[in-house]
Subunit: 464 residues, 2 copies
């Protein structure tokens, strides 16, 4: 596929997916490939050398995350850290019960682990979030059989910071352990106090792929859900990838210092996007907390736009961004994060800026975005003047996928007078979230959903 010149010079705005390898990580990796390639369990010289490098890396990561070295184990990914952390803590606390608490906006690795826990007979409680994506600490009030609670430091899709310290304080009184998923903040922000288990992923802070961190506080019961293995305190089976671990550790401190130095500037750049996008692009919703948020991440949704089409257009214009839209996910279900927040899931764009990103790149993004969105929307004919007006209208959007049902609704809103109703027939799952969210954004009244012969009927009253 031919690529435009701009794409070859892409502005990479997706560090929340993975950060480019930090130069310090690359340097450390090369050195450790020479010095730390042997089996650290062996007694001969090269083995002892690998062991020393591994021990030093563990000390470094422990110090950076506010843990003891013997609390740190290296996994092979952040996802594995979450899976082992959740299942291992549940198994270790099975005498307490089998109830798992997690927020509705955790990473999919948490949700999928919870599903397996349920399939194995456990129970799961989901803590709701507000429209900014934040839990309230009260939501974490445990049941007598709650064996583990899980909360992220910050949301990976919308950047909202969670009240981890408050939740930890609440749980501490009850003795329920708290697993804190720090994937989005490790190497960027300080680790909040009060965790029982902590998980992180090196490639999110500029370390190499293949390294996650699972820290388990001394005294927190943990029973491995996997077959026995002597390595990594019996928690993570398999040959330890010493060179990658060394690179992960070396880059952690460097990344953290640089992120801290750039934090205020990144925060301001994201503010610029948050303020200008809704002005530059009509019918756009910026989601997540405007203040208590990751400095470098912002998400917005552009109504009537297919997220995948917008991403492709941005890619051709030289910008690499991500999307939580249903349309870009292989499962065709809308982002569970946006759905839990009750905000729009269509035409969704997540921008996560790399540390040190040039201001000009952000301005160029703001320059090209309005035109790209307008181009995508142009064929939809949203400005067509309605031909007839009746008090109620039924729109058949059956078989039409996101974002078409909402587009149809928007097109025909003014076909009924104020006070009139529109019934949208739709069988795409995304409509269930998007139509109410659109009503809220456009200040129309959503009257509810009733099952239809096929799909559902969504009823909207025009208020203005």
């Amino acid at each position: 596929m031919p690529l435009s010149d701009a794409a070859h010079d892409a502005a990479y705005f997706d560090v929340a997916s993975t950060a480019p390898l930090h130069p310090v990580a690359r340097q450390a990796l090369l050195a450790a490939l020479d010095e730390g390639w042997a089996d650290p369990a062996r007694l001969y010289r090269s083995g002892r050398q690998a062991r020393m490098l591994l021990d030093a890396a563990r000390e470094t990561v422990a110090e950076a995350l506010g843990a003891r070295a013997d609390e740190i184990t290296f996994t092979t990914s952040g996802t594995q850290a979450v899976q082992l952390g959740v299942l291992g803590a549940l198994k270790g606390h099975r005498r307490r019960g089998a109830h798992l608490l997690h927020s509705a906006v955790e990473h999919s690795s948490v949700l999928h682990t919870a599903e397996l826990h349920e399939a194995n007979g456990g129970t799961v409680g989901v803590v709701p979030v507000d429209r900014l994506g934040r839990v309230t600490p009260d939501g974490y009030e445990p049941r007598p059989d709650t064996a583990l609670a899980v909360l992220q430091t910050a949301n990976h899709e919308v950047g909202t910071l969670q009240p981890v310290a408050e939740v930890a304080a609440l749980l501490q009184e009850t003795g329920v352990p708290l697993l804190v998923d720090a994937a989005q903040t490790a190497g960027r922000l300080p680790v909040p106090p009060g965790w029982s288990l902590l998980t992180a992923s090196a490639h999110k802070w500029g370390g190499p792929a293949g390294v996650g961190v699972l820290a388990v506080r001394k005294g927190v019961r943990y029973a491995s859900p996997l077959p026995a293995d002597e390595r990594e305190a019996g928690r993570v089976p398999g040959f330890v990838n010493v060179p990658a671990v060394v690179a992960a550790a070396a880059s952690l401190r460097a990344a953290r210092a640089e992120a801290a130095a750039d934090q205020a500037r990144l925060h301001a750049l994201v503010d610029r996007i948050r303020t200008r996008v809704p002005r530059l692009v009509p019918e756009t919703q910026v989601v997540g907390d405007p203040d208590h948020r990751l400095p470098h991440l912002v998400t917005f949704s552009c109504l009537y736009v297919d997220g995948e089409v917008l991403l492709t257009a941005l890619d051709r214009a030289g910008f690499a961004v991500s999307s939580g839209s249903s349309c870009t996910s292989s499962t065709l279900t809308p982002s569970h994060v946006l759905a839990a927040m009750g905000v729009l899931t269509e035409g969704n764009v997540r921008v996560s800026l790399p540390t040190g990103v040039p201001e000009e790149a952000v301005d160029r993004f703001l320059e090209v975005l309005p035109g790209l969105v307008a181009e995508i929307r142009a064929p939809l004919g949203l400005d067509l003047t309605p031909a007839t007006r009746t008090d109620s209208l039924v729109i058949d959007a059956l078989g039409k996928l996101c974002p078409l049902p909402v587009i149809e609704l928007a097109k025909h809103l003014t076909d009924v007078p104020v006070g009139g109703t529109i019934t949208v027939l739709a069988d795409d799952e995304a409509a269930r979230h998007d139509i109410p969210a659109w009503c809220e954004m456009r200040e129309q009244t959503y009257l509810g959903e009733t099952p239809a012969e096929r799909g559902s009927a969504y009823v909207i009253q025009r208020d203005r």
Copy 2:
């Protein structure tokens, strides 16, 4: 700790633990760190590029292992490949039953996975091996409820090749799937036909750490034992380490070609060790099949020697080797492989030669070994003439660890006349294997073991 000059120029004879990174792997890794660092699931340019590199690596590995690309998934280690392969195939075939068959000499990752399967209510059948460490295909005759059989291509401790094709043919008739653990042969020898699942580990063939292979033949039922994840055909959760996978694939073919070219020479060098060690070092047993074996691997046991002491002496002399002796394992149980073969477990040394090893390095090893063993044995006074002779003698070796009980037995053998008996009281677990094995080697009659107040009483009759 100060190291001798020799140790800094160590001959690395432990490729069965991990092979040094192949130059091709290093080169490919560096290139892929630049070109394949992004998330291969993303739609923008750098993501698509990572995806293309990943797809190409999958094709390469598939071709090298005689599989289809869509049968190959990349795990994070050989151990993870085994764990997922065994548990996933068992879960996929749970309607057949919950019986798992594996040989007594499989890698510990198989044994530990079997233990977990048993703990979860499954059953396990262990197929015995002969004194050379080989299974007989008949041992794999399945029960009606056998859901999976596991067999290695070659043993990791003694190098014996297993009759995989014959076992596969036997199982094929019954429909029981066979998982073949090719960790010791992938990148060295052709893959035997007939596998249903195949596992391997890249760092054993000169690829980087952090990459294993799990191949599942089309049509073989597999149900992931882990939480759901979209990556790697739903089998291996977590961010895919594209640069390491690319390096693993690139080195696989290079390593295979070089190993094939060096095969006859390595086989002859190992023959040299197999022939000369017993001549140069008294009371030494070379174990494993002398002919049907890995070209580059040989294991022998030196009586009356602590394996860890010998390894340390060899390390100081510049040789990195491994040991299956009880004394060097952190669990303090003797090698399950040597125990299953009924051979000596003490003073055990495994030599696994790297491709291209200089002949002189092997000769130097044969030069220094006898002196080192003699030095270790010197203080034991094995040549002491016995002072008295009685028809029976009790030796108290309680509290003495391997190899002391056997040393005591050897010392005092001639204290009784031919036909007399010696009773060794010992509570070290290794004695249970080592005393009968010593009797067989020294052609003495082992009369049996009876439980004692503490430990056991092992009774030996002097025959010569």
